[in-house]
Amino acid sequence: MATLERHIRYEAELDPSFAREIIASSGSPSLMECIQCGTCSSTCPLSSYMDYTPRRIIAMVREGFKQEVLRSSTIWLCASCYACTVECPKEIPITDIMYALKRYAVREGIHRWRFAIPLMARLFYETVRRNGRLTESWTVLKLYLQTYPLQIPAMVPMGWKLLFRGRFPLLPERIRGRLGLQRVLRAAKE
């Protein structure tokens, strides 16, 4: 027999300051004016994959459903294509809100099911901080090793084709001003 789950939310579980924090981090208070029309979900190419559509995320941010929002797949599936931002009738900067939510989740250390996307973000971040530039080949390789190691054999043909055409750089890119860059980044840290 299937187990039943009870779904109910008590006010004490919600975070009333969450909306304000996200407004401050995304730079615009217009999310308060959302009329839940769903235009964002309508135009978002990833919305059919998300557990909560962009529209629902905005509603949940406004009401303080912090845990659900930060654990959603939505914020990581967002590809920053800005389609929602340019269509929203209330000019809510939804893409920037997604960035703010990503940052929040990273800060709180919340990642849903060892998700590849935040992992990729971290690899990218580390490489750039160390070397000043990204070497795609190595970064993607490291990503696969940590997320889909079993897929690597299937990717070999592509890798080989790229290598053969000189599109798979073997030497990591490094800038001369590496250390200077690290100082700059440290000084700018939030």
């Binding site: 009329i35 029309c37 235009t39 979900s41 309508s42 559509t53 009738p89 209330k90």
Partner: protein, 667 residues
Amino acid sequence: MSGPEVYSNGAPRIGVYVCHCGLNIAGKVDVREVAAFARELPFVVVAREYKFMCADPGQELIREDIRQLNLNRVVVASCSPLLHEATFRRALEQAGQNPFFFQMVNIREQVSWVTKDPRQATEKAKALVAAAVRRVILHEPLQRRRVPVKDRVLVVGGGIAGIHAALTLADAGKRVYLVEREPTIGGHMAMFDKTFPTLDCAACILTPKMSAVASHPNITLWTYSEVIGVEGFVGNFRVRVRRKPRYVIEELCVGCMQCVDACVYKDARFPDEFNMGLGKRKPIYIPFPQATPRVVLIDPETCIRLKTGKCRQTCMGACDRKAIDFEQQERIEEIEVGAIILATGFKAFDPRRIPEYGYGKYPNVYTALEVERLVNAAGPTGGEVRLRDGRVPQRVGIIHCVGSRSKRFNRYCSRVCCMYSLKLAHLIKERTGAEVYNFYIDMRTPGKGYEEFYDRLLHEGVHFIRGRVAEVTDWAITPEEEGKLILRVEDTMIGVVRRIPVDMVVLAVGLEPQPDADAVRRMFNISCGNEGFFLERHPKLAPVSTFTDGIFLAGACQGPKDIPDSVAQAGAAAAEALALIDKGYVELEPNTAYIAEELCSGCKTCIGLCPYRAISFDEARAVAVVNEALCKGCGTCVGACPSGAAQQHLFEDAQIFQEIEGVLAYV
């Protein structure tokens, strides 16, 4: 103050009344102390304090004192003059004194309600009372002027609002000029097939009113005409109207349409404006069968005779009334009216401003007005709903809120679109049997029978999907989508993203002001609001009058609204116009500016500054002259006049300086 002064009506005998206003004033200000203070001021004969001066006992106090103590000046320290200045002035009048020997001091909004410390509040009240006492001494016995009101009314715009206003006024015995820009009256309502929520045939309920207008002895109907200039003031407007040439003599034409049949163009060829470009007409035409007046007109842009001078003129030959006159010129008429009602209507939002919806790119994307013409039995398809290639649509999507509720276009809700979308959904389904989908954000059905209409539509099986469509596209993914227009939307109620292929998309476009609303409002000297609709005097309490006395608003030109509201507003505007005219005169407040001619140098600075165009220049005497009927007493000219020639009744320099001295002496 010192020295013997010449007072207007003998030595001043001032009564000062300090109101408690319950606790509103007395709770903060020591009213007894203020009254006692006032008692000691020069020329004050009596100073009282009382709980509610505006109530009748309070008024009686004033009246009694005037009679018994021969008071000739009154100061009341209470609330805002906007509330009760008129009340107290009336009290003076009732006791036989000139009402302008009165000065009101606001010790509620300006003292009690805004000062924290009671001691400071009391001191401030005393200073203001002292100022008023000094000032009122210098008041003059001003007289309100009466200007007679002409008993005719001009109604601009012949839609349902203008028609109803005109009929109401005409039935009350007033002479009405109804000026309409299009060749026929009827407005947007004449384009509809059915009206919500009753699904009454629009033409059936409208045409009786239209023909009543045409046949009413009190209505002068000028169609194909425009107002080109307005001068004057309330009760005495002078209006110039341009009557555009139809090239047909209106008095002779009976609308038999022989000329149209006989036109050298055997087939109708030109886009038909009334049918939103969906149908065709000839250069000589009648807009629609029930056009009123039923007179043909000739379009100079497409008529060969008018463009080139060369034509067989078969139309003239066919007309046995000899009504066609290619030499007809425009005529300018000048009329004098006492009141004007503007009922110029709305313009539908142009969906080309939203390229995502594909209007103009995909042939089967229509606006609601175009669909109104499709479903209308007298329309280009005889009431059949057809796609551009003639096929019957099997699936139709109606998108709500096009151009409305959006910061990118119009922030407001256009009020009627939910209802007309329901109506069109019903009509389309009835005519075609198609699956109809309404894509909405909220369902706005507030009127009588409106929610019940929504129930009916739900019962009929129209799909209602709560989700705004971002884009109309022809990008097909599945076989069922090939050749269709696809609407991808989040069904927010069910909680899933859906792709719905349709044959036809209907855009529920919002209502906007007419494109020339700003030019029109300038001509009539009224204002427009933020969104560009004509501005009413007060959004709650004065929805049909404007800040220009004598000019009223009716219908969608004041804001989006449906037919019942337009008719109600038209009736209200007619009533207010009637009240104005039946009174027979307008009483002008005397706080107007005037020019001391001996001081006027003729520099004309004041003339351009006056926001009400109330100042003119007398060339003969080379001085400026203020029209007291137009002057609103704003004081701009007074402040600007370099020689001090422009002055203002009730705001004379001497009076104001005394007020200042009064405050400074006691503050």
